[in-house]
Amino acid sequence: MPLELRDARVTFGDGLFTRRRTIALDGVSLRLDPDAAETVAVVGESGSGKTTLTRLLLGLLRPNDGRVLWRGTDLRQLRGAALLEYRRSVQAVFQDPFGAFNPAHRVDRVLTLPARRFGLAVDATAAHALAVRAVEAVGLRPAETLGRYPHQLSGGQRQRLMVARAMMLRPRVIVADEPVSMVDASLRATILGALHALRLSGVTLVYVTHDLTTAWQLADRVMVMRGGAVVEEGGVEGVIGAPRHPYTRALLAAVPPAMPDPTWLEDAEAA
């Protein structure tokens, strides 16, 4: 049973003294089948609504109109065990590894707390064992990470820790919002590789990015957003390989070249 957005609309007030509202998401639908273990890339620039969409999927924001459904039930109606099951099954990897952790908790606690809360570990020993396996799975050394505070880790280590926490809870869906936009090139491959491996373990991934090349490498399906609406969607070979919408084409044309190309900037000034 899927995680689903149905005709979701989100508006934000522009200020205390105006009735004007900004439309962040203008009737967007998205159906994610956790059993398909597919990767859906949501591609767009600033203001396209892609982050608003992730906040709806994660239950961090409610739509003004339309619905967000988990296994057929509106998130607003989820209670008790069903709510807990949703919270465990849909996990987040955020863009900013500096703001995502409680600075007063050691890494060990960042991991064992949700493990206990979601009933994945019966006691502290089992929770610790889970935490050890989780950090090892993303290439971190437990001895160098678990006893530390988040501020003692590098940005790359924190980003991997976020992936580790999400994966440890054995979710059905992971929503990753620009997970590599703040990490260095050499680490980008490690994190994308870890996300790519999720599909093999049966997890559905929502990969939100402004970067068409990593969307190409990771995704089965692509949704291109602009101004709160979906302008093009479909299989990755179609949308990126043979785009139909002028905006998708413009995005593709703006991707920097992979090899030196002195002609890349010709006729680009009008953009």
Binding site: D184, L192, A258, A268, E269
Partner: protein
């Protein structure tokens, strides 16, 4: 060709609780008139510190610990404050990373230009200045009316264009651009880069651009310089460096560039950059280098030449395929 800017053995240090961090440890390069030179590397490689040191914008606890940077026969690193003020903006100018933080939020765009003109005493006269500002804004693709606006009324791309106009206002010989488009969306980024390249050509300046995106460099620069752990590890014509990288770190950066090739392939360089307080002996890359040999752990590699303008610091630079 005589370089417009010549940097020799630049050292920059930062005092930290853990000890002295050598952010830039002996960097030398020349900037050739009218060229665009890219300075790349990961966070902490010293690329931005190198660029800012040329403008003497290193703040405590950082300090320039040694070296010479010659522009017009004068050393930028030892110039007296008054001379430095004359040179900055007029002979060497900065296009900063975050345009929002670089522009004064309480002044309109015109006043930001007036500030610059006041500092250098030219051009004189209200009408002459107005005309100059209008022409500068138009040269970067903005309407002259923008001069009456405040920074917060402009989009990120427009603000960055204002910063470019400010940088070229006094026709400097050298423009230093520190990740000038990293805050912009891709479509806007390409337009701003095209404008930067055109105005740089028009005023005949040389451009040093700092960045981390190898793809962007591939589309923008003539030569590329790669930094690792405060050292320049490779420099050369961009086509030559991409075709035959002589340093394993350069090769890793090129290979980790995402591309529209086979899907699901992610290549990077495992490990993290070394401590700048106590870097490993020998070559600083050796603990994570796929091509390291015992010699790399003891002996720092010297700079070797691999073409008329292609230099690298690697013991195995002569070997053809050291990625294996």
């Amino acid at each position: 060709m005589t370089p417009v800017l010549s940097v020799r053995d630049l050292h920059v240090e930062f005092g930290t609780p853990a000890g002295l961090a050598r952010a830039v440890a002996g960097v030398s390069f020349d900037l050739i008139p009218r060229e665009r030179l890219g300075l790349v590397g990961e966070s902490g490689s010293g690329k931005t510190t190198t660029a800012l040191a040329l403008l003497r914008l290193i703040r405590p606890p950082g300090r320039i610990a040694g070296g010479v940077a010659t522009l017009d026969g004068r050393d930028l690193l030892t110039a007296a404050p008054a001379e430095l003020r004359r040179l900055r903006g007029a002979r060497i100018a900065l296009v900063p990373q975050g345009a929002m933080n670089a522009l004064n939020p309480v002044l309109d765009i015109r006043a930001q230009f007036e500030d610059l003109f006041d500092a250098h005493g030219e051009p004189r006269g209200r009408a002459a200045r107005r005309d100059r500002i209008a022409a500068l804004l138009q040269s970067v693709g903005l309407q002259p009316e923008v001069m009456a606006r405040f920074p917060h009324q402009l989009s990120g791309g427009m603000r960055q264009r204002v910063c470019i106009a400010l940088a070229i206002a006094l026709r400097p010989a050298v423009i230093v651009a520190d990740e000038p488009t990293s805050a912009l969306d891709v479509i806007v980024q390409k337009g701003v880069l095209a404008t930067l390249a055109r105005v740089q050509r028009e005023i005949g300046a040389a451009l040093l651009i700092v960045g981390h995106d190898m793809g962007l460099m591939a589309g923008f620069v003539h030569r590329i310089a790669v930094m690792y752990a405060g050292r320049l590890v490779e420099i050369g014509p961009v086509a030559e460096v991409f075709a035959r990288p002589r340093h394993p770190y350069t090769r890793a950066l090129i290979e980790s560039l995402p591309r529209f090739g086979p899907r699901g392939v992610f290549r990077g360089l495992p490990g993290t950059a070394p401590s700048l307080v106590s870097p490993p002996p020998g070559c600083p890359l050796h603990p994570r280098c796929p091509a390291a040999i015992p010699r790399c752990a003891v002996e720092p590699p010297a700079e070797t030449r691999h073409g008329p303008a292609h230099l690298a610091r690697c013991h195995r630079a002569e070997e053809a395929d050291l990625a294996a």
